[in-house]
Symmetry: C2
Subunit: 211 residues, 2 copies
């Protein structure tokens, strides 16, 4: 087994206490965001956005909307992973146009693909579309957490926050997005008691079944 | 930027045509499964299972239940990522016991953590719990896809299948699980036309907002 790889993903844990003095370099932040941007999603549709929160005053407000969890203010950067609302023909057209431009192909050659996407959305309620997009955002979360671990950057995924308050503070709704999950990135404090705790995973035989 | 890392995740794409003659070594398969096992989940609860499908006869049946997509039979292995059903006190106790054993701590020292988990589940319907578990499974999917890319293994995440039929064929329900998403792993065929296509992602300014 590539023990080097496994060692890196074992090194990671959900950091509870970040060292507020340690910041990601521009290069490290770019790498994390690029991993998010390159993450796969169903149809490749990317119905998402990453809000990178740097403003300390806004982060204080967000902390209050996240049950006072210190990662929101103390990590180097807070990433708010969002879904795009109301996906339908307009956004699908934008996606199709982007493919045509990037690959230098005719839009008409993508009409079957476009119809397939639109049909799948027609069968879903707005709530179901949002949930589908949320699942894709969690793939991105997995990609970002993995990229952090591979590159010696600490992170903490967080579901414990009030999405409605976040959306208000960040004015995400105006932009057609809603927050779904957080990822604080930075560097662990030497005093984070969670660092010393053994990672707990169920043994292989409980998690993996061969058929 | 760590261009080596970005190069690897850019190398990956959702393989449509696998080379059926190329199989993952035992070591490669172990690495992929270990990446899944080590993936993070909310509370660290791991309400999931990976079914690794090797049996060719069963894979033929699954292909029919996945709109005939050839990745189901032609990839080296098919991973079916599942959620655990009916999470509640029994499973939480099992998790708490596992933590206590692994970390050598008293169960009583984990009572606050246990109550927190149980309270959060009490507030959810069975449907909401399933959706919450599904989101966690998508983090695992992100981890597995990332591990494959980092280690030169091809993969294809797949939502296009009939979960009910999969659960029947694999008898997952008996075991208390339900299928949620597929991940075929193996090696791309030289004739996969999708390999030549440029990866399409929206530009940074459309996906990333700094606040």
């Amino acid at each position: 087994m590539n023990n080097e790889y496994i060692k890196k993903i074992t090194w990671r844990y959900a950091v509870k206490k970040f060292d507020p003095s340690k910041k990601l370099s521009d290069e490290q932040l770019s790498l994390v965001l690029e991993a998010g941007r390159l993450a796969p999603s169903s149809f490749g549709l990317q119905a998402w956005k990453i809000a990178v929160i740097k403003d300390p005053e806004i982060r204080k407000k967000l902390k209050d909307a996240a049950f006072g969890q210190t990662q929101v203010t103390d990590a180097s950067h807070l990433l708010v992973l969002c879904i795009r609302k109301n996906i339908g023909e307009q956004f699908v057209d934008h996606y199709i146009n982007t493919i045509a431009k990037e690959r230098g192909v005719n839009i008409s050659s993508l009409s079957g693909f476009k119809e397939g996407m639109l049909n799948s959305f027609l069968q879903k309620t707005e709530e179901e579309k949002d949930e589908w997009s949320t699942r894709q955002v969690y793939i991105m979360l997995g990609f970002i957490l993995s990229a952090c671990a591979e590159n010696g950057i600490d992170a903490c995924p967080m579901e414990g926050f009030d999405p409605k308050k976040f959306d208000e503070i960040l004015k995400l709704k105006l932009d057609g997005f809603e927050s779904r999950v957080l990822c604080a990135v930075g560097f662990r404090s030497e005093n984070d008691e969670f660092e010393k705790m053994k990672k707990v995973r169920f043994p292989k035989e409980e998690i993996i079944t061969e058929i």
